[in-house]
């Protein structure tokens, strides 16, 4: 049992460490940000506290030292410097190592960190702190939101009659209270006299204020600090934020009035026995006035609101589930989708209306279930983006660059499996950008650019794909060097004209470079083939754009999910194939005459547009005689339209992707397989790969040959 708790602690601590890292990096950028200081402190505090609770004593002891300095930072006694952030990041790494059971016991590194941190602590009251930023603008420490639970207060405020004349406007006070938290104000106006009697410059009104805040009593008293002496002011806690939910109905109206001492319980009982609306009845009985009832009503509503919110917060909370369980769930849904397809097929064959309607319902439900389950596994790409802040910081320090990383589209969601596998390629691309793309500050300034380089990570949706872009404003790729290299390798005719996009694609080809050479030649390409492979394994594509001296942009396109896709089922002879529906634009017929008109070229005329096609029967060497009228399934990717010739188009099919066995994994043109309703296996065509191999590459070769 304890192990389980320790595991939970480890998971939580990992998250806290990630948060700590983010906050530290942000803090470095805005050293005066009190909220960030608070976040850092709280993360450390929680790690220390729960570490000690679950027996991670070393973590607790070590974290305590770092926490201490941040307590001082929080109180404005120690300034935020690069040195402090460096140390804290190093400490964070140490905590991480400890968490994973590395280097337990005495560690010199940790001692060093502690010693260095202690040096940062102020010895004399002023000075003693190195390179403290010139008077960082610390806001009032009171502004720091505390971690405490929100407490609800009833504030009874009866100002002196001359309050207006002394220049106080109660509206300003209420405004300040509203800034502390959710606030309801109710005026007691019963005491306002008639026009004849009123002194228009006096205050006759008193107020009940209900305020829910986590800032504590002091913050409230501060608001009234200038009027407290001459006013009646009572502040009471009416909900401490801890009470169990059983009182979510809060007190009844009568009880509130009794609790305030405005009504005695006996009188309440007596009136209650008359069984009318309590507020109305009490007013009629002259026990309280309408303002008091109104105020009690507001209090009731306020507290109910607070309880409701608390309840909602609990209800919308998340639970932690091991991702293996989700994978299992997705597998099961995959099986279910397959069985459902069989059910639908059987129902079609049997033509039993009752069974058909059941099958239809099952189909709808399965579809919803599938979407929901897949959605559970979607994670925002921001979860890996944030990790890169640290990477960029460390790399640029190491390589003597100044780089500013900006990210956008962090909320874009991707399947967790895809996301996990995306990390390494992205790290590689970022490393390349900083190492070979972005120049050193001196070089940049000389060429008229700002000394600080820019690196942008963007993500967004485009149809059924997610597009991720890594963009820098560095030197760009050296076109001529790549060209020379390609010609040297015999991949390109010396005089061939080739679009930049295709030329740059060479650097992703295996064997184009060995590491050292390429660094000096093009400044790119170290392991780009590995990146390309990783992206292709995710059924994605990668493209490079670059302008000399202006920078490089690498665009990665990925499918939303890896598990289940909408497919188009087709047949050739008695073989089934599936094309990803997202790539399909239309289906047209291809007659013998059409083929004859093309004079042996594999091209079709689709409403005046020439579309090259791939004869799948030939491509996969399937024996037999094609039907008189074949079908062209026209697909489109990156503005290239390519047709696929098949015998028959059967229709849409929810396709659960099964990976192929190890022996078949290298087969080109096939990206996976699926099981159809009747148990038959259908192969899933790798449309982008076929397109490249069969159409685009030969075309490029022809161009080069000319």
């Amino acid at each position: 049992m304890k192990d389980k708790h320790r595991e939970t602690f480890k998971e939580e601590a990992s998250e806290l460490l990630a948060e700590l890292e983010d906050s530290l990096l942000e803090l470095e950028r805005s050293p005066g940000d009190q909220e960030l200081m608070g976040r850092v402190f709280r993360a450390l505090h929680t790690i220390k506290g729960s570490g000690a609770m679950f027996g991670f004593d070393e973590i607790a002891a070590f974290t305590h030292e770092v926490e201490t300095v941040f307590d001082l930072v929080r109180n404005g006694k120690v300034g935020v410097t690069k040195g402090l952030v460096d140390l804290s990041l190093a400490a964070r790494d140490e905590i991480k190592a400890l968490l994973h059971g590395n280097e337990p016991g005495f560690s010199e590194r940790r001692q060093e960190i502690i010693a260095a941190i202690q040096e940062l602590m102020p010895a004399p009251p002023e000075g003693g702190v190195e390179d403290r930023p010139a008077a960082p603008d610390f806001p009032d420490p009171d502004v720091l939101p505390s971690q405490e639970l929100p407490v609800t207060y009833r504030i009874c405020f009866r100002p002196a009659a001359e309050i207006f004349l002394r220049g106080t406007n109660p509206l300003t006070l209420f405004k300040e209270l509203r800034e502390l938290g959710e606030c309801n104000v109710i005026a007691h106006a019963e005491t306002i006299p008639s026009l004849a009697a009123i002194n228009p410059e006096y205050c006759y009104t008193a107020w009940d204020i209900f305020l829910t805040t986590s800032r504590g009593l002091d913050a409230i008293q501060d608001v009234f600090i200038f009027v407290a002496d001459e006013s009646d002011l009572t502040i009471e806690v009416i909900d401490d934020g801890l009470k169990p939910e059983e009182d979510s109905n809060y007190k009844r109206l009568g009880e509130i009035l009794v609790a305030r001492g405005e009504l005695n319980p006996e009188a309440l009982d007596e009136v209650l026995n008359r069984r009318t609306l309590i507020g109305e009845a009490l007013v009629k009985a002259n026990l309280v006035n309408r303002d008091q009832v109104q105020s009690a009503l507001v209090e009731q509503q306020h507290i109910r609101g607070v309880h409701k919110k608390r309840h909602e917060a609990q209800a919308t909370g998340s639970i932690r589930v091991p991702s293996a369980k989700l994978d299992k769930l997705v597998d099961l849904v995959g099986e279910l989708v397959t069985v459902q397809a069989r059910l639908s097929q059987t129902a079609d064959v049997l033509e039993d209306p009752q069974l058909l309607s059941i099958a239809e319902e099952v189909e709808t439900l399965t579809g919803d279930l599938r979407d929901n389950v897949l959605n559970i596994r979607m994670l925002p790409i921001g979860t890996i983006f944030t990790k890169f802040q640290r990477l960029v910081r460390d790399l640029s320090a190491e390589l003597g660059r100044e780089v500013e990383l900006s990210t956008s589209g962090a909320e874009t969601e991707l399947d967790k499996t895809v996301l996990d596998k995306l990390n390494d390629p992205l790290v590689h691309l970022i490393r390349n950008s900083i190492d070979h793309g972005i120049e050193s500050p001196e070089v940049r300034v000389k060429s008229g650019k700002p000394g600080k380089g820019k690196l942008c990570l963007t993500a967004g949706h485009s149809g059924t794909q997610v597009v991720i872009r890594v963009e820098d404003d560095g030197v760009g790729l050296d076109r001529e060097a790549i060209r020379a290299k390609a010609v040297g390798l015999g991949w390109l005719a010396p005089d061939a004209e080739i679009p930049d996009k295709e030329l740059f694609a060479f650097i992703m080809a295996p064997g184009f470079s060995t590491a050292r050479e390429i660094t000096s030649v093009s400044g790119r390409g170290v392991g780009m083939d590995v990146v390309k492979k990783a992206i292709e394994a995710l059924r994605g594509s990668i493209e490079i754009n670059s302008r000399a001296g202006q920078g490089t942009a690498i665009t990665i396109k990925l499918p939303l999910t890896l598990a289940i896709i909408e497919g188009l089922l087709v047949t050739i002879e008695d073989e089934f194939f599936v094309l990803p529906l997202a790539a399909v634009t239309e289906c047209v017929e291809l007659t013998r005459e059409d083929v004859a008109k093309a004079h042996g070229h594999n091209i079709a005329n689709v409403r005046g547009e020439i579309v090259p096609y791939i004869h799948l029967r030939e491509r996969f060497q399937i024996n037999g005689v094609p039907p008189a009228i074949e079908q062209i399934v026209i697909t489109e990717m990156d503005h290239n339209r390519v047709g696929f010739i098949v015998d028959n188009v059967i229709g849409e099919q929810q396709t659960v992707i099964k990976s192929l066995g190890r022996i078949y994994q290298g087969v080109e043109g096939i990206s996976g397989a699926t099981i159809l309703g009747d148990g038959t296996v259908a192969l899933i065509l790798d449309v982008p790969q076929l397109m490249h191999r069969e159409i685009l590459e030969p075309r490029a070769a022809r161009l080069q040959g000319n």
Partner: protein, 114 residues
């Protein structure tokens, strides 16, 4: 200072403009007293209001008391400047029920403030 008394007895309206605060409270009071003594039905119209504070809300309340006692009618125009509306809401004057004096249920704080 622009408190205009509309001449027309048809609609009995008094237009209040500019700053409605404690600095002008005495002046505003006399306008209300005078108008209520002259008219049985007083309709207050707000235009170009630049400032409102609690002293003015109290005056409205007091005027309503007086009107209720004298069996006269005090109404506020439906067009209420944002400044006035927010002051009424923030000062907690909005009511679901009128006060004890409001026997004829003409409380000015019940409707039109949201």
């Amino acid at each position: 200072m622009e408190i205009k008394l509309a001449e027309s007895n048809v609609n009995n309206s008094v237009k209040l403009e500019g700053s409605l605060t404690v600095e002008r409270a005495a002046e505003l009071k006399s306008v209300l007293v005078e108008s209520l003594s002259r008219m049985d039905r007083l309709h207050l119209v707000f235009e170009n209001v630049t400032e409102v504070d609690i002293s003015f809300l109290q005056l409205l309340c007091a005027a309503h008391h007086t009107a209720a006692r004298k069996k006269k009618k005090l109404t506020l125009d439906g067009h209420r400047p944002e400044l006035l509306r927010s002051a009424v809401a923030e000062a907690g004057f909005v009511r679901q029920e009128g006060c004890a004096i409001d026997v004829r249920e003409i409380c000015i704080w019940k409707e039109g403030w949201s």
